[in-house]
């Protein structure tokens, strides 16, 4: 028993070291703020689309964390998400006309709710609602916009098919958008050259919602921007009859070849040799049309 004090001291040191290590882990390697559930008030928002937003995702003002997402529910009977934000009591002064936006940290990071202050003098109340929201940006849509073709609309409502014959479709690919007044209304279903014909037959699948297209409308192959992808533009005519499934668009305008345009511009006329393809609207099918 004479050694008891040294054991006691050693054991005490061991226990103190253990708790010191625990304190170190708990304070230095974790964020106590993460699990800090101090007094907070709740604000609801409604989003058309929450994307990948998750419960406990941060709520930020000017990039500073002010709270977290408490719950994400579907608004009953609506295609809307109700997001409940839990905001710390120390941030009581958020204007009630602030805009809630779902952002992504970085390109692939987690999503969070950002609040931009409005002009209102009255702060949002506990249990109140932020009416102005912007939904999550879907990366696919952004990329679609960027590449200019525009996303073809989904075909939930079904489609009807019309065909058009083009002497030259340029780089038009199946799946390219069909646009009316710049709005995508369908997509190119197929591009074929019928046997015995020198023209490309393009089948367009148009959403049934856009059934009221005059049957003397013209179809033209356009390019979005200078180097964008090609799409089919429908230019409405004046006929009282509407296009029906299986109809043919008689008036077509073929793709403009950039090379031809430059050639015309430079030599003031169409190129004399036909190696590079015919002038737009010419009868000679070029290589691109002969798939």
């Amino acid at each position: 028993m004479s050694q008891r004090p040294s054991y006691a001291v050693g054991t005490g040191l061991f226990i103190v070291l253990g708790f010191a290590a625990l304190a170190y882990l708990a304070t230095q390697t974790t964020s106590v703020a993460n699990s800090h559930r101090g007094s907070a008030y709740e604000v609801t928002t409604r989003f058309v689309n929450v994307g990948q937003l998750k419960v406990r995702a941060p709520v930020k003002v000017a990039g500073v964390r002010v709270g977290s997402v408490d719950a994400i529910d579907l608004v009953p009977g609506k295609e809307e998400a109700k997001v409940t934000l839990s905001i710390d009591d120390s941030h009581k002064d958020i204007p009630d006309d602030s805009v809630a936006t779902i952002y992504t940290s970085g390109l692939l990071g987690d999503q969070y709710v950002g609040l931009q202050f409005g002009q209102s003098k009255t702060p949002v109340k506990a249990g109140g609602e932020l009416a102005f929201t912007r939904p999550a940006q879907q990366l696919e849509e952004m990329i679609g916009k960027f590449f200019g073709g525009g996303s073809a609309p989904d075909r939930l409502g079904g489609t009807f098919h019309v065909t058009g014959n083009f002497t030259n479709i340029g780089g038009l690919q199946p799946g390219a958008a069909v646009k009316l007044a710049g709005v995508p209304i369908g997509s190119v279903e197929s591009v074929v050259v019928k046997p015995g014909s020198s023209e490309a037959t393009v089948t367009l699948a148009i959403d049934k919602r856009y059934s009221q297209i005059p049957d003397d409308s013209a179809a033209a192959v356009f390019t979005s921007g200078l180097i964008g992808s090609q799409y089919v533009a429908i230019q409405p005519g004046g006929s009282p009859e509407y296009l029906a499934d299986g109809d043919e668009l008689v008036l077509t305008q073929s793709a403009l070849q950039l090379e031809d345009l430059i050639g015309k511009f430079l030599v003031n006329g169409s190129p004399s040799d036909n190696k590079n393809g015919s002038a737009p609207g010419g009868n000679q099918p070029d290589n691109a049309g002969k798939k």
Partner: protein
């Protein structure tokens, strides 16, 4: 205790059953063992403080190798800044409690088994009973309590050393930014989920299991030198299996 004709399954079941009854026995003896509190303290010193060297060294190296491996893999995805996060979470949730418990079973569990087994083989336990000293209260319970107290503390020290090792490799050696390392770690590690549930709860459960197996094997060892040798081996084998199996069960409940 058992005949050799018995089926392996029956024998294992009998062992587990006897082990459970022994646990109840120990828990009943715990209040009486407080009379021998200095003995408990001495055992904490022996199984806990004396295991610090091996636990700290191993923790350091586990953290270092994790840092190295994760840096190598994460650099494929350009995500080396997540090294600290992954090192911390891997150590807190799995490696810290599990490796510490395995080391503890090898370092302390075997010596407890051998000590009690030798007491049994040399009739010391019987002598205590003759002197009206309850061997469960005086010998077994202090060692059991010491293991239950020491293992969580050792696991926490292991984790701290592991994070330090990961920092050493990641920041000092491989050049991850110091601030990025810590801020990513603090942003992702949660006190409740990772430290309390991950480190403390798991290592507490492992402490109970490892200590129980060690004292049970020692207490029920056949009183021969061969019996003590087998008992020591069985402690390591049974502890390792129990730790890893329990780890899976606990994780599936905690996650």
């Amino acid at each position: 205790m058992t005949t050799r004709d018995d089926n392996v399954v029956i024998r294992s079941l009998a062992q587990i059953g006897a082990c459970g009854l022994f646990l109840i026995n120990i828990l009943g003896a715990v209040p009486r063992s407080f009379r021998y509190f200095s003995e408990t303290l001495r055992q904490i010193w022996f199984v806990g403080a004396m295991s610090l060297t091996i636990v700290m060294t191993c923790g350091l190296f586990v953290g270092m190798v994790l840092g190295l491996q994760l840096y190598d893999v994460l650099s494929i995805f350009g995500g080396t800044s997540a090294t600290g996060t992954v090192v911390a979470i891997a150590i807190y949730r799995e490696l810290g409690p599990v490796v510490t418990a395995l080391l503890f079973a090898g370092r302390a569990g075997t010596s407890v088994t051998a000590e009690i087994g030798l007491m049994r083989a040399t009739d010391q336990l019987d002598a205590m009973e003759m002197m009206a000293v309850d061997p469960v209260a005086y010998v077994v319970a202090p060692r059991f309590l010491a293991g239950v107290v020491a293992l969580p503390l050792l696991a926490v020290v292991f984790c701290a050393m592991g994070v330090f090792g990961g920092h050493l490799v990641g920041v000092t050696w491989l050049g991850i930014d110091n601030g990025t390392f810590w801020s990513n770690m603090t942003a992702s590690v949660d006190v409740h989920k990772d430290i309390i549930d991950g480190v403390l709860l798991k290592s507490f459960a492992f402490g109970i299991v490892v200590s129980l197996i060690a004292v049970f094997q020692g207490y029920t060892t056949p009183p021969t030198s061969e019996g003590v040798a087998y008992a020591t081996t069985r402690t390591v084998v049974a502890s390792s299996i129990a730790i890893l199996a329990l780890d899976f069960v606990l994780t599936s409940f905690l996650i």
